[in-house]
């Protein structure tokens, strides 16, 4: 071994979007395939990213393969732009994609990467939503083997999943799946829509924006193309139910900051919560909440 060897100066210099061009091309091809077969989990050779598998590397590879210098990107985690992981991902994108703008405003973004939420504001045709996915396969709860799940998907065999839902109703009188609610795309494949709450699932149905889902560790890309059917798996006589935000009096809770009663809320436990009473509720979507407050200020100013 050459003991004189030193690291070349350019050893740590990275290209636009970090990934090499061949990797980007491969991901774009998979995206095209995923759009062409809605809900199909397209396998791809996921690359290692400089953040942990499970931290959004699948979403990030999609973002980096699709992003161009004219894009404006927004990154959220749990609905918030300043959550640690969102900050870390946004910083990395800014670092490796010079000339790309980043924004916190949903309406301004051309590309939105998100973990666990779909923005409250309905998305537009010119926008792409990238969701980070830990478990790409809705069937994993009933079948551990990927090879067998692949056959079940091909045959449209979701009987075991439906049985699970049925057994839930028998045992608990309620379907107990809280998030990652199995959703049938375009009448065939059932997807795991990523760990978004049930509240967000209806947003997938006929979404104007393209929704791409990327699982880095599990090496899968799938899509909900624009204006595509996306229906949560239910029974005719048991309707799909989203999270319940009514209080004991049957009133819909409101965000304590902006007053909205039409958003997904975070439950925040105060310091004096010994009796479980010191709770406040606020919008999980930080940009939506800010927008509500701004427009009510404008209205107040107009009235004054």
């Amino acid at each position: 071994m050459n003991s004189e060897y030193e690291l070349p100066q350019d050893e740590a210099a990275y290209s636009f979007g970090f990934l090499d061009e061949y990797a980007k091309r491969e991901i774009r091809r998979c995206v095209l395939k995923a759009i062409s077969i809605p809900g199909y989990q397209t396998p791809y050779a996921s690359r290692e990213m400089p953040m942990g598998r499970g931290f959004g590397t699948g979403g990030l590879q999609l973002t980096l393969a699709l992003i161009g210098p004219a894009d404006t990107v927004k990154v959220i985690d749990q609905g918030a732009d300043d959550s640690v992981n969102a900050v870390s991902l946004r910083k990395f994108i800014e670092q490796t994609c010079p000339s790309v703008d980043s924004t916190e405003r949903t309406a301004e973004a051309t590309l939105i990467q998100s973990r666990h939420r779909i923005p409250e504001l309905p998305l537009e045709e010119a926008q792409v939503l990238v969701l980070q996915v830990p478990y790409p396969d809705a069937l994993v709860v009933v079948e551990p083997s990927e090879a067998r799940r692949k056959i079940m998907h091909g045959e449209g065999d979701y009987s075991r999943l439906l049985t699970k839902l049925y057994e839930d109703i028998v045992q608990f009188k309620e379907i107990t799946i809280s998030h990652r609610y199995p959703t049938r795309i375009n009448g065939h494949y059932v997807i795991d829509p990523s760990p978004i709450p049930r509240y967000d699932v209806p947003q997938l149905h006929h979404s104007k924006a393209l929704v791409l889902l990327g699982a880095g560790r599990e090496k899968k890309i799938y899509a909900v193309p624009p204006y595509c059917n996306a229906e949560p798996l239910v029974f005719d006589d048991v309707p799909f139910r989203t999270e319940d935000f009514t209080d004991a009096k049957g009133q819909r809770r409101a965000c304590h900051r902006c007053g909205a009663t039409n958003s997904f809320l975070d439950e925040i436990i105060g310091d004096d919560d010994a009796q479980g009473l010191d709770k406040t509720w606020q919008c999980s979507d930080a940009d939506f909440c800010r927008g509500q407050r701004e427009s009510s200020r404008v209205m107040a100013a107009q009235l004054a």
Binding site: L7, G52, D82, S88
Partner: protein, 375 residues
């Protein structure tokens, strides 16, 4: 009130980076920064592990990764892997011939004597694991004196270079299946995802960069009884493999450099042969970058176990290609275990919603039963 979810995430991250750097330099003024050459040589087995799990042969970068990650093997291998993502694949390496390895060590436990002889080389196998207190305060002079003394009295021409492979002898005797010489495309796990069933080359490539501990644990389950590979090490060799690549102009195979690697071939008991022909021993193969003997042995055992699973269906976890291959990657498993540290309050909100609703329904049905009971 007053609690706001992870506000100022950016500042917090910067602060944590500073804290990490502070611990790295905690020796203060009496400390000397580790040189990459020192890590590469004095912690050579650690560097080897990173090379192998990182799947990129770059000892100096592996040393840098170890320094940066303060000795965390999972993180260091991960950094090397991520660096690899930025590099295009320029060409496919043709088959490399490991009989050309310049060996520093080779043993066979199958035979007392082997062609070329057993060569123990650098190993702790027969060293007593007693604390060597003389190393605690080793002087630079003593260190340099040792460095100069090894093989001082041996003539260069007396030092062996390459050795024949032990398996060849067994094969010549008809104890092993004949070599399958049909040219097959090797599966490149860095460019193709694993879609099961996968060919053996995909399994070998996956295990070659697997996390050592994960591989060992699953191989050990097979050795202990959740499996039946009773292996004998036909040959374990460690050395420098000349890497032959086609010359960019002439296309002729040219030595482009060499990589330190460990190779292990195990022979296991024969089985009834499904095809016609006499029964023969079965083989398991393991190889990885760097000097990692336990890893190469574990891999060879699992290769043998997986071949059986692929043929007859898995009877044990270690024979199930999906189970083994999807759970041995350190970057994947460590990343996913770490991700649970990230906020999950939106999904937890959904969880609470389900539990509260179910509890309510449960309470309601209990009350109905209670009121009905006296009637």
């Amino acid at each position: 009130m007053g609690y706001v979810a992870i506000r100022g995430g950016g500042r917090a991250i910067e602060g944590s980076h500073a804290a990490v750097e502070n611990l790295r330099t905690a020796e203060g003024e009496s400390g000397t920064p580790l040189s990459l050459a020192s890590i590469e040589h004095q912690l050579r087995l650690l560097t080897s592990r990173i090379l192998s799990e990182g799947g990129l042969y770059h000892p100096r970068l592996a040393a840098l990764a170890l320094k940066q990650m303060q000795g965390d093997t999972l993180e260091a291998a991960f950094a090397l892997r991520a660096y690899r993502s930025t590099k295009p694949r320029l060409l496919e390496t043709p088959l490399q011939d490991t009989s050309k390895m310049r060996l520093i060590r080779r043993i066979s436990s199958a035979f007392k004597e082997i062609p070329g002889g057993q060569m123990l080389g650098p190993t702790f196998d027969y060293a007593l694991r007693l604390m060597r207190l003389d190393l605690a305060n080793e002087s630079p002079e003593a260190f340099r004196k040792v460095a100069g003394s090894f093989l001082q009295n041996a003539a260069v021409e007396d030092l062996p270079d390459s050795f024949p492979k032990v398996l060849d002898a067994l094969r010549n005797e008809g104890l092993l299946p004949p070599l399958n010489t049909t040219a097959r495309q090797a599966f490149d796990i860095t460019r193709e995802p694993l879609v099961f069933p996968v060919p053996r080359s995909a399994a070998l490539a996956t295990m070659a960069r697997a996390e050592t501990g994960s591989l060992l644990a699953i191989a050990y389950s097979n050795m202990r009884g959740y499996g039946d590979v009773h292996p004998t090490i036909a040959e374990l060799r460690v050395g420098y493999l000349p890497v032959m690549l086609p010359h960019p102009v002439t296309g002729e195979l040219t030595e482009a450099g060499e990589v330190l690697m460990t190779e292990c071939e195990v022979v296991a008991m024969y089985e009834g042969n499904a095809n016609d022909g006499p029964p023969v021993f079965t083989l398991g193969y393991g190889a990885c970058f760097g000097h990692n003997e336990v890893k190469a042995i574990s891999m060879a055992i699992l290769d043998r176990a997986l071949q059986k699973g692929m043929r007859d269906g898995p009877a044990n976890p270690s024979e199930d290609p999906e189970f083994v291959l999807l759970h041995v990657d350190g970057v994947d498993s460590m990343g996913f275990a770490s991700h649970y540290k990230m906020p999950h309050y939106v999904t937890f909100q959904s969880d609470m919603d389900r539990l509260r609703t179910t509890q309510k329904k449960n309470l309601a049905s209990q009350t109905t039963t209670a009121t009905r009971a006296p009637a």
